[in-house]
C-alpha cells in the first residue's frame, strides 16, 4: 500500500474526540450565571472548552497552497462573537479555501486558526462540535427526504434519541420547510435546498455558522428568504455567522463587518458604512455616491487588465484615479 500522504498516525482525527479535558477547562473570569445555576454540569466532554474571551474565529498569518497555487497568502482575520461577518472577494480570491481551512477540512499547522479559542489543528473534534457549515455547492442528499437529511445531522451530532424528533421539527420550522419535509430533497428548488442545508446546520445548535455563498444561483425572492432565515435564527440564538457572497447589496444590508479579500489576502476590513466612507474620504467624493461595489472594485482591481500586476505606488495611484473617474 502507498503511504498515506494526508493523514499520518499523528492525525488528531484518528483518535476519538482527542483529550477533551486533560487540563481543567480554563475558567474565564467572565463565566456567567454560575449563581443562577447551582449545579453546573460536570460532563466535560459534553461541551467543548469554548472561550468567552476569544474571538469566534481568529486566523493568524494563514497560508494555504494547492501545488503552486497560493490560494490563501498570509490571511489575518478576527471574527467577533455574535456578529455577521462577510467575506467578499473576486472569484479565486481564496474565500472558500480559507473557509475550508477554518472548518478543519484542510490540514493547517497548529497556531494558525482558532475557533472560540480552540485550535483548529489540535482540537478538531471540539471545533466541529461548535460549527455549522453550508458549503458552496448545494449539498443535500437528493435520495433522502428533507426530514431525513436533517435527521442524519441530528444523529451525527449525537442528539439524544428522545429529543431528536422535536429538534428536527424545530429546525425544519425555523427554515419554513415543515410542509415539504416529507418530500425527497431531489424535488426541491434551489432556494429550498439552501434552507434545508441551513436546517441541517442548525440542528446541532452551532455557535458559529459558516455559509459559503448561501445565495449563489438563487432568484431574488429565494435569496431574501434565505437571509430571513439566517437573520431570524441569528437573532434567536446569538450565534456568530461567517458568510461569503458576491452580492454587494446583501453584504451591505446584512453584515455587521466585512473583509475584502483579493489574491489570498485581506485588502480592506470594516463595517460596510465605514468601508464606503473611507473610500469616499480617500477620493474626496460624496459618501452617498460611493457604493460597496465601488469599494469592491477599488480593492479587487480589474484583474483582467493586468493593472493588478503593476507593483506598489504606481498601482495605488492608478487605482485611486480610476475609481475616482468612475464616481465622477
Amino acid at each position: 500500500m502507498t503511504t498515506p500522504p494526508a493523514a499520518g498516525p499523528a492525525d488528531p482525527d484518528a483518535t476519538v474526540d482527542a483529550d477533551p479535558n486533560a487540563a481543567p477547562a480554563p475558567q474565564p473570569d467572565t463565566a456567567p450565571n454560575v449563581a443562577a445555576n447551582p449545579q453546573p454540569r460536570t460532563a466535560p466532554d459534553a461541551t467543548p472548552d469554548v472561550r468567552l474571551d476569544e474571538p469566534a474565529v481568529r486566523c493568524t498569518d494563514l497560508s494555504y497552497s494547492f501545488g503552486d497555487t497560493r490560494a490563501v497568502d498570509g490571511l489575518n482575520l478576527e471574527v467577533a462573537q455574535g456578529e455577521i461577518f462577510g467575506l467578499l472577494g473576486p472569484n479565486g480570491a481564496g474565500k472558500t479555501t480559507a473557509i475550508r481551512a477554518i472548518t478543519t477540512l484542510l490540514p493547517v499547522p497548529a497556531g494558525k486558526i482558532s475557533v472560540f479559542g480552540l485550535d483548529c489543528a489540535r482540537k478538531r473534534m471540539q471545533v466541529r462540535r461548535v460549527l455549522g457549515y453550508v458549503p458552496q455547492q448545494l449539498s443535500a442528499d437528493s435520495g433522502l427526504t428533507g426530514r431525513e437529511n436533517v435527521d442524519l445531522f441530528a444523529r451525527v451530532f449525537d442528539v439524544p434519541r428522545s429529543e431528536r424528533r422535536a429538534r428536527v421539527d424545530e429546525a425544519l420550522t425555523a427554515v419554513d420547510l415543515t410542509e415539504a419535509a416529507g418530500r425527497l430533497a431531489g424535488t426541491y428548488s434551489g432556494g429550498m435546498v439552501r434552507r434545508l442545508e441551513l436546517a441541517q446546520a442548525l440542528v446541532s445548535a452551532p455557535r458559529l455558522l459558516i455559509l459559503d455563498e448561501p445565495t449563489i444561483g438563487l432568484d431574488p425572492l429565494a435569496r431574501a428568504s434565505v437571509w430571513d432565515c439566517i437573520s431570524q435564527v441569528r437573532a434567536g440564538t446569538g450565534m456568530t455567522v461567517l458568510v461569503t457572497t458576491h452580492y454587494m447589496d446583501e453584504a451591505d444590508e446584512h453584515c455587521n463587518r466585512l473583509a475584502l479579500m483579493h489574491r489570498g489576502r485581506i485588502r480592506a476590513m470594516g463595517a460596510p458604512g465605514d468601508l464606503r466612507a473611507d473610500l469616499a474620504a480617500q477620493l474626496g467624493a460624496d459618501p452617498a455616491r460611493v457604493s460597496l461595489e465601488d469599494v469592491f472594485r477599488h480593492h479587487a482591481g480589474s484583474g483582467l487588465t493586468g493593472a493588478d500586476h503593476e507593483g506598489g505606488d504606481f498601482r495605488d495611484v492608478r487605482r485611486t484615479r480610476s475609481t475616482a473617474a468612475r464616481l465622477r
Binding site: 476519538v16 433522502l144 449525537d158
Partner: protein, 318 residues
C-alpha cells in the same frame, strides 16, 4: 404560524429541564446573548415569520469512544435503509445478474457435471458463490459513491461533523454490509425458488448475515481506499471494473480450489472472497468449511480495510 406542528413540549416539566441544561452547558460557553435568550423561549421579532427556538439553543451532549462509532454506524445504516425504502429499483436490477448466473450457468453446469463439487448439485454449490459475488459488487460500488458524495458536498459536510474519519468509514462499511445482506436475502430467495436446498436454521442465517457484513465491509473499504488514491470517479470506475472480475474468477465461487492451477490457488488463498464463499457454503449447505478461519480472515481484512480507508479519506477532503 403560531400553531406550528411541532410536537408540543410539556410546558412545565420538560421545558424546565431544557432551560436548566441550557444554562448549565452555557456556563463556560455561551455568549451573553445566547444566555439571555436561553432563559426563555426565544421569539424572534424581525422578519415576517417569527420562529420559536427552544431546543436549537442547546448543543447536544457528546458521545464518546465506541458509543460514538456505534452511533455513526447506526446513522449511516439508517441512511441506507431510508434510501432503499424510497427507491427499490436497485434491489431489483441488482437481482437480475445473480438470477441469470444461477439460472443459466448453474443449470447448465449442473447438467454437464464438469465441476467436481463433492456430491452436491452444481447449482447448490454455486448459490453461495453468487451470494458472495452480488454482495461484493454492491460493496465495490461504495468507493464510487463516496467520490460522488465528495463531489456533491455530502461527504464534505459529514467531515465537518464530530465524526472521526475511522468512524465515518466504519459507518459506510456497515452500511454496505446492511445493503449487501438485503441483497443476499433476495438471492437466497431466488436460489430457493430454483430448488437449491438451503438451510433455514435461524442461527446459521444469522451467521450468513455476519459473514456477508464482514465481507462487504472489506470490499467497500478496499474500494474507498482506491478512491482515496485515485480521487476521481472516472479512474475509479475503470479500476473497479478491472478488479471485480479477477476477484470473482480468482476465488472459489465458481469452482473448488483443488481444480485450479497452482498460481490461481495462490491468488484464491489471498482473496478474502474465497473465505466468504467458503463460510457461506458451510453455513447455507451444511458442507464442511473452515468457519473459524474464514471468520478470522474476514474480520482482520475488514479491520485492515477500515484503517487504510480512514487514513486515505482525508485526501478526498482536500
Amino acid at each position: 404560524m403560531s400553531a406550528a406542528p411541532v410536537p408540543p413540549l410539556p410546558a412545565s416539566a420538560e421545558a424546565g429541564t431544557a432551560t436548566a441544561t441550557a444554562t448549565a452547558t452555557a456556563t463556560p460557553t455561551a455568549t451573553a446573548t445566547a444566555t439571555a435568550t436561553a432563559t426563555a423561549t426565544a421569539t424572534l421579532t424581525p422578519g415576517p415569520r417569527p420562529v420559536e427556538l427552544r431546543l436549537l439553543l442547546t448543543p447536544p451532549p457528546a458521545r464518546r469512544a465506541w458509543r460514538l462509532v456505534l452511533a455513526r454506524a447506526g446513522a449511516m445504516c439508517m441512511v441506507e435503509l431510508q434510501k432503499l425504502r424510497h427507491d427499490r429499483t436497485e434491489l431489483y436490477t441488482r437481482a437480475v445478474q445473480p438470477a441469470l448466473w444461477l439460472l443459466i450457468f448453474g443449470e447448465t453446469f449442473t447438467r454437464i457435471h464438469a465441476i467436481p463439487t463433492g456430491g452436491i448439485p452444481y447449482l447448490d454449490y454455486l448459490a453461495p458463490g453468487i451470494i458472495a459475488q452480488s454482495a461484493m459488487f454492491i460493496a465495490i460500488f461504495y468507493g464510487i459513491m463516496i467520490i460522488w458524495e465528495r463531489d456533491s458536498g455530502v461527504l464534505t459536510k459529514l467531515l465537518v461533523t464530530p465524526t472521526p474519519r475511522a468512524a465515518l468509514v466504519t459507518g459506510k462499511a456497515f452500511a454496505a454490509g446492511v445493503k449487501s445482506v438485503i441483497q443476499a436475502l433476495v438471492v437466497v430467495v431466488i436460489a430457493a425458488l430454483l430448488g437449491v436446498a438451503l438451510t433455514w436454521n435461524p442461527l446459521r442465517l444469522l451467521g450468513v448475515a455476519v459473514i456477508v457484513v464482514l465481507g462487504s465491509a472489506f470490499f467497500s473499504c478496499l474500494s474507498m481506499t482506491i478512491a482515496g488514491i485515485v480521487l476521481t470517479r472516472d479512474r475509479l470506475m475503470g479500476i473497479g471494473q478491472a478488479i471485480t472480475m479477477p476477484l470473482f474468477f480468482g476465488s472459489n465461487a465458481l469452482y473448488p480450489v483443488a481444480v485450479m492451477p497452482g498460481w490461481l490457488q495462490a491468488v484464491s488463498k489471498a482473496n478474502p472472497l474465497s473465505y466468504e464463499v467458503d463460510a457461506l457454503r458451510g453455513l447455507l449447505l451444511g458442507i464442511h468449511a473452515h468457519l473459524a478461519l474464514d471468520f478470522g480472515v474476514l474480520a482482520v481484512a475488514a479491520a485492515v480495510g477500515v484503517t487504510t480507508a480512514s487514513l486515505l479519506l482525508g485526501r478526498l477532503a482536500k
